[in-house]
C-alpha cells in the first residue's frame, strides 16, 4: 500500500508534504479559536505581563508549530522509507496474512558438494534454509507455508494454469498455518525429502505458485527459490521472468537463495550405446562410451568401471536372476574442460535375451551422472534374406562375405523371388535385411511386402545386373516415391581411360566405407568395374530427397555405383552393378566382406530402437492387444545393491488395437498403483501372453546429463534478466531470517532518533506554552 502511495506520482508526494505542513497550522489555529473564556478582574496585571513577554511567547509558539510540522514530515519520511527501501520482505511480514511459498530445486545437480568431501550437498543446505524460512514465519503472526519441489510438477504441464487442488496433490506442504506444531511437521517432511534423478527446471512449479499467488490476493506472498541457479536453467529466463514478474505484480516478494558453492569438477558419462546393429548372442558387440568433462579444469586418469548383467530367461518374473560380470576398466588419460572423450569396448553375451551393460565413474561433484546403463537385445542370429536366381552366383559371394565362418552372427537365407510372393509379412520380419541380387522384376504383391518391410525398419539392398529390368526398377522408383532410389536409364560399359588414374570404385565418406575412408592406396582401388546401369539425366539433375550417392565410377557423378536412401524406418542401398563378379571384380576384392558387413549393419539399424531413454521422457509400452493380457509386472530398481521392486501395472486398450501405458517421468497412477521411472536403472516389463507364457521387455533408463553442467549464472546477469521481478538474491549462508533487522538502515535509525527528539521537544514546548491542561 505504502509503496503504491509513494511511488505513484510526484503529485501524491507533494500532496502529502503539503498536508504535513498544513495540518499543524490548522490545528494551531483551531486551538486558538477553541480557547476557554474567563471574565477577569485583574486585567491590568495580565496586560502588563503580556506586554513584557509578547516576543518570547511568539517565538515559542512558532517553534512549537515548526516542531509539529517537522514531526509530520519526519513521520512521512519514515513511512516513505518503509515503502521505498526495497526491503519488501520486512514490509510483507507486517500485519496482513503472509504466505511463504518455497520452491525447492531437487534436480540431481543439487547433490553437488563442495571441494571437501565432508561438505554438505546443496540440497542439504536447501533443507537447512527451509528451517530458517520457517523460523522467519514462526516469529510472526498469521503466517502460512507451502513447500513445492520442482520434480513434483510434471514438466508438460507448464502451460496449464493450476488450481489450488492441483497444487495440494503435489506439494509437500500446502497452505499450512505456521504455529507451534509446524516445526515438528517441517522436520518430518524434511526427513522425507530426497533428491530426484531428474533434470527439471523451475518453470512448471513456478507457474503453479504464480497462479496461487494470483488467486490468493488477500495474502502477502513471499516466494523463495532454493536452487543452485545453473546457467542452463536461468540463461533463457523469459518464461521464468514473466512468472516472477507476475508474482511481483501481485505485490509478492521474491527471494532467490543460492544453495550451491562455486562450480566444482564434474565428469559425467554422457552416452553408452551399442555400436553395432547386429547383436547376436555369442558374438562380441562393440559398445561406445562417451565421457564429458563439465568442469573448468582438465581431469586426468579417468577410469570407467564396466560391468555386464546377463539375464536368464525364466518363464515368470519371480524367477528372474542375472549374472553380473566385471569387464576391464576403460581408461581415459585426460579430458580437457568441456571436451567429450569417446571410447569403444567389447562386450560378449553368450545367451539370447536382453542384457545390460553398466559403466560407472568414481564419485565427484555430482554422483548421479557417473552411472549409465544400456540394455541390448541379443538374438540367436541376424537373419539375412538373399533373393537371387537359382544359380546363386551373387548370393554365394555375398553370403561368404557376411558370414565367412559363422562368427559374425549373420545367418544368410537364400531364396528366389517366388519366396517373396509366397511369404507373409510376419515371416519377413524375422529378417533384418533383404538383399535383392540382380532380380529382374517382382510382382506387385512382393513389391508391397518389401516396401512394408522397409517402412517398418527392415533394410533392403538392391544389386543390379544383366537380368535387371530397367522399366521394373523405374516403377519401383516411382518418381522418387518408391523404394528404389534411382531412376535408371540403361546399362553402360565402363571403358578404360588411359588418361585417368582414378580407381573405378571411388567411395565417399560413409560408415559402410569406414575401412577405406581417409585411406590412400586401399585395396578398393584395385576393384575393376566393367558395367553399370546409369541413371536418367533428370534423376541426375534432381535427386529425390534423402538420396545420396556414396560411391561412383571414377568419381563421375553421372555414373553412381552405390546410392543410399531411406523409406519409412528402413534404410535402402542401391548398387548399379552386380554383387558377384559379373560386372565387376569387387566380390573378389578383400574390401568386399567388411564393406558388406558394414552395409548389413547399417541396413539393420532401422530395427534398433534408440536406447538412450531418459527417466523423464515419456515412455510408451505398446503391445498387441490380441497377443497379451492387459496386465504387466514391473521390476524396477530401488536403492543401490537392493533387489528390484516388483509391482503390477494395468494396461489400457486403445482404438489402434494395442495395449498401452503411457509412462512418463512424472508419477502416473494406474488402477491405484503408482509407477514412476524417476530412478535410473534397468526396468523389466513382464507381459503375459494369451497362451500363458511370459515375455519381457527390458529397458534401461538414464539421467539427463544436461543437468550435469554446473556452471552457475552470475548474480549480475540474473538481476539483469529478472529486472521486472526485483528479486532479492542471497547465498544460503547469508540468508537472513530477520530481514527487518538487517534492512533497517542507519538512516532509518537516525530518523527514528530525530523523531524521538522532536517529539520530546514538541511536548516540552507545548507544556511550557500551556497546551497541557493541569
Amino acid at each position: 500500500m505504502f509503496e503504491n502511495i509513494f511511488s505513484s506520482s510526484p503529485s501524491v508526494w507533494a500532496g502529502l508534504v503539503a498536508g504535513a505542513v498544513a495540518i499543524p497550522i490548522l490545528i494551531h489555529l483551531i486551538n486558538l479559536v477553541r480557547h476557554k473564556t474567563v471574565h477577569w478582574a485583574a486585567m491590568e496585571f495580565l496586560l502588563k505581563s503580556h506586554k513584557r513577554n509578547r516576543n518570547y511567547i511568539w517565538i515559542k509558539q512558532l517553534l512549537l508549530l515548526l516542531a509539529r510540522i517537522a514531526l509530520l514530515l519526519m513521520a512521512l519520511v519514515l513511512l516513505g522509507q518503509v515503502g521505498c527501501d526495497g526491503d519488501r520482505i520486512s514490509r510483507l511480514l507486517g500485519a496482513r496474512s503472509t504466505h511463504h511459498y518455497v520452491l525447492l530445486d531437487d534436480s540431481f545437480s543439487m547433490s553437488q558438494r563442495g571441494d571437501n568431501e565432508n561438505d554438505p550437498a546443496a540440497f542439504d543446505r536447501a533443507k537447512a534454509t527451509l528451517s530458517l524460512i520457517a523460523r522467519r514465519a514462526r516469529d510472526r503472526q498469521n503466517q502460512k507455508f507451502t513447500l513445492l519441489r520442482y520434480s513434483k510438477v510434471p514438466v508438460d504441464q507448464i502451460q496449464v494454469a493450476s488450481s489450488v487442488d492441483e497444487v495440494n496433490s503435489v506439494a509437500d506442504i500446502e497452505n499450512i498455518l505456521v504455529d507451534s506444531q509446524f516445526e515438528a511437521l517441517l522436520e518430518t517432511v524434511k526427513g522425507t525429502l530426497e533428491l530426484s534423478w531428474l533434470n527439471v527446471g523451475i518453470e512448471a512449479a513456478l507457474k503453479r505458485v504464480s497462479t496461487l499467488v494470483d488467486e490468493r490476493s488477500d495474502e502477502n506472498a513471499i516466494v523463495y527459490v532454493l536452487s543452485d541457479f545453473r546457467s542452463k536453467d536461468w540463461e533463457t529466463t523469459k518464461r521464468i521472468a514473466d512468472d516472477l514478474a507476475a508474482i511481483r505484480g501481485a505485490d509478492g516478494a521474491i527471494e532467490l537463495i543460492n544453495c550451491a558453492t562455486t562450480t566444482t569438477a564434474n565428469v559425467a558419462i554422457v552416452d553408452l550405446q551399442a555400436l553395432s546393429n547386429v547383436r547376436v548372442a555369442g558374438t562380441p558387440l562393440m559398445m561406445q562410451l562417451k565421457v564429458k568433462n563439465f568442469g573448468t579444469d582438465p581431469v586426468s586418469k579417468v577410469q570407467a568401471r564396466v560391468s555386464t548383467a546377463s539375464f536368464s530367461q525364466p518363464n515368470i518374473p519371480e524367477g528372474l536372476s542375472s549374472r553380473k560380470e566385471d569387464l576391464p576398466t576403460v581408461f581415459i588419460a585426460e579430458i580437457a574442460p568441456g571436451e567429450t572423450q569417446t571410447r569403444n569396448f567389447p562386450v560378449f553375451f553368450e545367451t539370447v535375451g536382453t542384457h545390460a551393460v553398466t559403466t560407472e565413474l568414481k564419485n565427484d561433484g555430482v554422483t548421479a551422472d557417473n552411472l549409465r546403463h544400456c540394455t541390448v537385445e541379443f538374438a540367436a542370429s541376424s537373419k539375412v534374406l538373399m533373393i537371387d536366381d537359382a544359380e546363386q552366383l551373387n548370393s554365394d559371394f555375398l553370403s561368404l562375405a557376411l558370414s565367412p565362418n559363422g562368427s559374425t552372427g549373420v545367418e544368410p537365407v537364400f531364396a528366389t523371388k517366388d519366396f517373396l510372393r509366397d511369404a507373409t509379412l510376419e515371416s519377413l520380419t524375422e529378417f533384418e535385411v533383404i538383399f535383392l541380387l540382380d532380380v529382374d522384376s517382382l510382382d506387385d504383391v512382393s513389391v508391397r511386402k518389401i516396401e512394408t518391410f522397409c517402412r517398418e525398419g527392415g533394410g533392403v539392398a538392391f544389386f543390379a545386373g544383366p537380368k535387371s529390368d530397367i522399366s521394373f526398377y523405374n516403377r519401383l522408383h516411382n518418381d522418387g516415391r518408391g523404394i528404389y532410389p534411382i531412376e535408371l536409364q540403361q546399362a553402360v560399359e565402363i571403358t578404360e581411360d588411359p588418361s585417368s588414374t582414378a580407381p573405378d570404385f571411388q567411395a565417399a565418406i560413409h560408415p559402410i566405407f569406414a575401412p577405406v575412408n581417409r585411406q590412400k592406396n586401399t585395396l578398393l582401388d584395385l576393384v575393376s568395374v566393367e558395367q553399370v546401369i546409369v541413371p536418367t539425366r533428370s534423376w541426375l539433375l534432381q535427386k529425390p530427397p534423402g538420396t545420396e550417392v556414396i560411391a561412383s565410377v571414377r568419381g563421375d557423378s553421372k555414373r553412381p555405383l552405390v546410392v543410399s536412401s531411406a523409406l519409412g524406418n528402413g534404410r535402402v542401398f542401391a548398387c548399379t552393378t552386380t554383387a558377384g563378379p559379373v560386372w565387376n571384380n569387387w566380390a573378389r576384392n578383400a574390401t568386399f566382406p567388411p564393406i558388406m558387413l558394414l552395409m548389413h549393419d547399417f541396413l539393420a539399424a532401422g530395427r534398433q530402437t534408440a536406447n538412450n531413454q531418459l527417466i523423464q521422457t515419456p515412455f510408451a509400452l505398446n503391445v498387441d492387444r490380441d497377443a497379451f493380457l492387459p496386465k504387466a509386472q514391473i521390476l524396477k530398481p530401488v536403492a543401490d545393491n537392493q533387489p528390484r521392486e516388483q509391482m503390477e501395472l494395468i494396461l489400457a486398450p486403445t482404438e489402434d488395437g494395442v495395449l498401452t501405458n503411457q509412462i512418463s517421468g512424472a508419477a502416473q497412477t494406474q488402477s491405484g498403483d503408482e509407477f514412476d521411472v524417476q530412478r535410473p536403472g534397468v526396468f523389466d516389463f513382464w507381459l503375459q501372453k494369451s497362451a500363458g507364457e511370459f515375455s519381457v521387455i527390458r529397458k534401461s533408463f538414464n539421467v539427463d546429463v544436461a543437468e550435469s553442467a554446473l556452471t552457475q549464472i552470475s548474480n549480475a546477469k540474473l538481476t539483469n534478466q529478472l529486472d521486472a521481478a526485483q528479486p532479492a538474491l542471497s547465498q544460503w549462508n547469508t540468508f537472513n531470517p530477520e530481514p527487518a533487522v538487517r534492512q533497517a538502515s542507519s538512516m532509518t535509525h537516525f530518523f527514528l532518533i530525530l523523531l524521538t527528539v522532536l517529539l520530546i521537544a514538541e511536548q516540552w514546548l507545548a507544556y511550557s506554552s500551556s497546551y497541557h491542561l493541569s
Binding site: H35, W40, A41, F45, L46, S49, Y56, S768
Partner: protein
Amino acid sequence: MPDSKRFLHPEAIKRIARMDLRARHVVEGFLSGKHRSPHFGQSVEFRQHREYAPGDDLRHVDWQVWARQDRLYVKQYESDTNMRVNLLVDVSNSMNYGKGAFSKFEYAATIAVSLTYLVLKQQDAIGCLTFDAAVRERIQTLSRKTQMQAIMNALQSTQPANKTDLSGIFKQAAETFPKRGMMVVVSDLLSDVELTLKGLRLLRQRGHDVLLFHVMDDDELDFPFTGPTRFEGLESETKLACNPKALREGYLESLEEFLNSLRRGCAQSAVDYALVKTSDSIDAVLASFLSSRMEVRR
C-alpha cells in the same frame, strides 16, 4: 423571597461575639464608656452597670458594688461616647469574580454583615455605603437594631455592575462622614493604587480610623490557568487571548508589586490593611483581624 440571613454565618458571628471591637484611636462620641473620648466627663447620667471586661478603664469600676458583692462592675452613663462605624463596600463589577464558594462580592458582604452584627451588639452606631464608580446606596450611621436589616437589604439589592472609582468614593466619604469614626473598607482595590492610597490618606486626615479588607480571589493571587484562554475584562472592554502559563510569572510579579505598594501606603497612612482570600474562613479572618487590633490597643 430573599434570604436575608445569608451573610450571617452563625459560626463566624459566634466567635466574633466573644470579643470586643476596639478602636485603635480615640473616637469622638457622645457616650462615655468603653471608648476613650476627647470630651471626657461631659455627660454623667448613670444608665446601668455592666460586668467588667478586661480592658475596661479601672476608673469606671463601681467599687461599692465590688465591696458589697465582691464583683467588678463598671458604670455606664447615658451619654457615654459611642463608636461610629461606617462600612464602605465595593460593589463594582470586578467584585463579581469568584470561582470558589464565594464571589468576592459575596465574601465582602459577609464580612460587612458580620461586622454590623458585632457593632450593633455592643450598641455602637454603624452605617454602610456601597459604591462602584459612584455611591450606589447609603445607610445612615445609627445604633438601632434595624440597621442590621437595612444594611443587609442594601447589600442584597445590589448587583455589581460598573467600574470602580475608589479615590472619588473615599473623597466623597470623607465629606459625607464629618464625624470621626471607623471606616471599614471592603474592596478588591483594583484601581489605580496611587489614587486609592490618596483617598485613604484623605480619610485618615479627617480623623477616621480606617480598616481595609482587601478581598482577593485565590485565582487572582495564584493565577492557576492553563490551556488556551481568552481573558475578558470585567470593568473594561479589554480582551486578551493567550496561554496563561506563559504569562503567569509576569502576572504574579505585577500583582506582587501592586500589593507591596498597597501595604506600604497603608502602613504609611496608619491604615489597618488585611489581605483576605475568598477561600479563607470568614470567622477566622475577622477573629484574627480584631485580635490584632486589640493587641494594638493594649
